[in-house]
Symmetry: none
Subunit: 249 residues, 2 copies
């Protein structure tokens, strides 16, 4: 990866998350800490970011620091996103839904990944679009303002025409008896179609939502190939899911 390219990437990350960690960057881009530090220094001298111990901050965030709750769930979602991104290999076709966790995933895709992402989530598409090496395919239809994804028969019929390697869904509720469930009829229809159109279903969720339930069922637990939370796979709350045959990361 070229130096300028790398610095552009760092800047992008800083503007996106308002902060970056040196160690995250060096692992992600696969260079030494020194290199990252030099990059941060140069960018700081150019006034593009503010260097601090351990990483850097966005210059616009100089004054008010964000609330602790935000930082907290940001960290969880960051962990989930990181785990999820390891499943994606070059050349894959990936179908994704919407939701904050998916967007976090979109933001933290490694820059050298070459893949095709298909989605109806406008915020997710926005992120994919700014990635240097990802092809983006938009599923068109009417936008549901609540969820900011396209919903409707047109979208469903487009999704049915696909057969992708992976499907990432951020989920709102999951338990052993009812599987994955949600509370928005239109969104559930889209999710169902996505599940049917891909070979592996990967569900992302923060642990808080495990063993909860919502009115409308999305799919049975058997459909899930992999479940990703911020917890280590050894956590006891995940044990019943592993026993049910789900891979847990």
């Amino acid at each position: 990866m070229l130096k300028r390219e790398r610095q552009a990437y760092i800047l992008h990350q800083v503007n996106l998350h308002n902060k970056v960690l040196s160690t995250d960057l060096s692992q992600h881009i696969n260079v030494s800490d020194d290199t990252i530090r030099r990059d941060l220094q140069e960018l700081a001298e150019a006034g593009k970011l503010i260097k601090v111990h351990g990483g850097a901050l966005s210059p616009s965030f100089h004054h008010g620091n964000q609330s602790s709750k935000d930082v907290y769930s940001y960290t969880q979602k960051r962990i989930i996103a990181q785990k999820a991104s390891t499943l994606i290999k070059d050349g894959m076709f990936v179908l994704t839904g919407g939701g904050t966790t998916i967007i976090e995933l979109a933001k933290s895709l490694p820059p050298e990944l070459h893949a095709t992402f298909i989605s109806g989530s406008i915020p997710a598409i926005y992120e994919y679009m700014n990635h240097p090496n990802i092809d983006v395919i938009v599923i068109g239809d009417k936008i549901s303002k609540n969820s900011k994804i396209t919903v409707g028969l047109e979208a469903i019929s487009r999704i049915r025409q696909l057969r992708t390697d992976l499907c990432f869904l951020g989920i709102n509720a999951i338990n052993l008896d009812n599987g994955v469930s949600d509370n928005d009829w239109d969104v559930v229809q889209i999710k169902k179609a996505m599940i049917e159109s891909s070979q592996r279903l990967v569900c992302l969720t923060i642990a808080e939502k495990i063993n909860s339930q919502q009115p409308i069922q999305v799919c049975d637990i058997k459909k899930i190939d992999t479940l990703i939370t911020e917890l280590p796979p050894t956590d006891p709350i995940l044990e019943p899911y592993i026993k049910a045959g789900i891979k847990v990361l």
Copy 2:
């Protein structure tokens, strides 16, 4: 391999991958590093790419200094957007393209407007989506990273199914003889389809682009219903267009 041919190939690679490595190119084309470097230098001087240590990047990567010119034309585009928004009435179906002027229009829509907007431009959709009373319909297909709109046969066939009241296009060049013209093949195809699918075509442009021309024709001047610039309709530069039967705001 000829020099021109080689440079065209390099440019193609840069636009495709957003970056190239000198060593990759020299091995692939089978010439010395020096030759490649000279090519890159020439292309960089022509502004076709940005040369960096180790290779070159796409000019779209240069987010660096984009203030002075942008601020300058920002005011102009605000004026255009304001004029354009007066044409939209409650209940209308409006088809829009992409580009900075259209996004400015999207931002300055009056909040009490109830209408349906249809577009393939991701940044424009983003704005429409945040409007309280607008329904948004997304035209799906593959995203063209340059223009950040969806392009392709799927998009065109969806557009063809429509019959909207208005079509707003931001245009890159217009003159009396060749009408509206542009420089991106895929985008032109989309624009053509949009024009055919709506009853009135409204073209938005800053005055700077009037009486200029680009390689690919979008439509004849007769297709234009209304032309909007930041100038008052009495400006002499607009007179020939009024005489050609175009409404000017």
